[in-house]
Symmetry: C2
Subunit: 272 residues, 2 copies
C-alpha cells in the first residue's frame, strides 16, 4: 500500500462547529485517519477583518501540515472564503474549502436555478457563496441572508420551540419570497437545526431542498481522494485526533453535540 | 492645576460593548479625557479560559498605561472577574473593575437582600458577581442566570418584538421566582435592552429594580477620582480617543449604537 494513503486528512475550523464536517467524513470515509484543529482561542473568525482571518488560517494550516497530511480541509466558512487560494499556492497537499463544496452540491440540486444561502454575517458579507456558485453556473440566481442568532442558539442547545422557529422564519422568509428551490446552510453549526429549518420552509409553502455544507464537504473529500488515488484501503477504522487552542469550561459537551459521539483524546496547543 | 489630573481615564473591553461605559462616563464626567481600547480582534473573552483572559487583559492594560493614565477601568466583565487583582498589584494607577462597581450599586439598591444577576455564560460561570456581592454584604442571597442570546440580539439590533421578549422572559423567569428585589445587568451590552427587561419583569409581577453595571461604573469612577483628588477641573469638554485591534465591516454602526454618538477618530493597533 502507498505510504501516503496512510496519512491523515487535516481539518480545521475557528471553533468546534467543524466537527459536524468530521462527523460526515467519518460516516462517508470510516477508514480514514483525521486530525482536527479547533482554533477556539480565537473563535469566531466571522467578525474579524480578512487580513486577520488569513493570518489565522495560515497558523492553523502550518500546525496541521507539520504533522503530515494527505489533504487539508478548511471547515470554517470565513477562512474558506478568505484563505483557500493563498493556502493552495503555499501548500503541496490538495486544499478543499467548505464554500466550494457547498456551492457544488447546491448547484447540482437546483433545477429552477434559484439558490438561497444563510450564514453568519461574515460569510454573507464576504459574498463568497454567490461568487463560487456563479463560477459553477452563471445562470443561477443567488439570494443570501445573514442569520446571526443561529450559532448562539445551537451553542446554547436552544433548538426547539418558539424562539428558534421565529429566528429561522425571520432569516428564511426573504429567501422563500424569492422562490428559491435550494436552501444552502452556509455554516457548520446549522445542520443541528436542519429539521426545524425544513419544517419552517414547508409552513411557508416552500418546497426548497435543504443542503448542508458539512455533508457536501464529505462527498467532495471522498471524490478528491479517489481522483488522487489516495483513499486508505486498510480495513481498520480510522482514528481521530483533536487539538484545540483553548480549553474553556463545558467545551466537551458542545463538541460532542456536533460530533455525535465521544471526542476521545484532545490536546491543547499554542499555534499563534 | 495638578498635571496628573489632565491625564485621561483608560477604559478597555474585549470588544465594543464597553462603549456603554464610556457613554455613562461622558454623561457623569463630561470634562474627563478618555482613551478606549476595544480588543475586538480577540472578542469574546467570555468563552476563553481564565489563563488566556488574564494574558489578554495584561496586553490591553500595557497598551493603555504606556499612553499615560490617571486611572484604569476594566469595562469587560470577564476580564474584571479574572484579572482585576493581578492588574492592581502590577500597576501604579487605581484599577476599577465593572464587577465590583455593579455589585456595590446592587447591594445599595436591595432592601429585601435578594439580588438577581444576568450575564454571559463566562461571567455567570466565574461566580464573580456572587463573590463580590457576598463580600460587601454576606446576608444577601444572589441568584444568577446566563443569558447567551442577549449579546447577539443587541449586536444584530433585534431589540424589539417577540423573540427578544421571549429570550428575556426565559432568562429572567427563574430569578423572578426567587423573588429578587434587584436585577443586575452583568454585561455591558444589556443596557440597550433595559426597558424591555423592565417590561418583562412587570408582566411577571416582579417589582425588581434594574441596575446596570455601566452606570454603576461611571458613579464609581467619579467617586474614586474625587477621593484621589484627580478630577479634571478644566472647564473644556474632555476628549475621547478610540483604539481597536481589528477593523471588521459595520464596526462603526455597532460602536455608535453603544456610544450614542459619533466615535470620532479610531485607530487600529496591534497589542498582542
Amino acid at each position: 500500500m502507498n505510504k501516503k494513503e496512510q496519512l491523515p486528512i487535516g481539518v480545521f475550523d475557528s471553533g468546534l462547529g467543524g466537527l459536524t464536517v468530521v462527523r460526515q467524513l467519518q460516516r462517508v470515509l470510516p477508514h480514514e485517519h483525521i486530525i482536527y484543529l479547533g482554533d477556539n482561542a480565537r473563535v469566531p473568525y466571522g467578525t474579524r477583518s480578512a487580513q486577520t482571518v488569513e493570518r489565522y488560517a495560515w497558523n492553523c494550516a502550518d500546525f496541521l501540515v507539520r504533522r503530515g497530511l494527505k489533504m487539508l480541509v478548511i471547515a470554517c466558512n470565513t477562512a474558506s472564503a478568505v484563505a483557500v487560494d493563498s493556502l493552495r499556492q503555499r501548500l503541496e497537499v490538495p486544499v478543499l474549502g467548505v464554500i466550494r463544496a457547498g456551492a457544488k452540491v447546491a448547484v447540482k440540486a437546483s433545477t429552477r436555478k434559484r439558490i438561497g444561502v444563510i450564514g453568519t454575517a461574515g460569510t454573507v458579507g464576504s459574498g463568497a457563496y454567490p461568487r463560487e456558485i456563479k463560477q459553477l453556473d452563471s445562470a443561477v440566481d443567488v439570494f443570501q441572508n445573514a442569520a446571526p442568532l443561529l450559532v448562539p442558539l445551537v451553542e446554547e442547545g436552544w433548538i426547539e420551540g418558539d424562539v428558534p422557529m421565529q429566528a429561522i422564519q425571520r432569516y428564511v422568509a426573504p429567501l422563500v419570497s424569492e422562490k428559491i428551490d435550494v436552501l444552502l446552510l452556509g455554516c457548520t453549526h446549522y445542520p443541528v437545526l436542519q429539521s426545524s429549518i425544513e419544517t419552517e420552509l414547508r409552513k411557508m409553502g416552500s418546497d426548497a431542498l435543504v443542503v448542508d455544507s458539512a455533508t457536501a464537504m464529505a462527498i467532495e473529500v471522498s471524490e478528491t481522494l479517489e481522483t488522487y488515488g489516495l483513499l486508505r484501503t486498510d480495513s481498520f477504522p480510522g482514528e481521530l485526533r483533536c487539538y484545540v487552542t483553548d480549553w474553556p469550561d463545558s467545551f466537551i459537551d458542545v463538541a460532542e453535540r456536533f460530533l455525535g459521539h465521544s471526542l476521545g483524546t484532545v490536546e491543547k496547543v499554542d499555534i499563534s
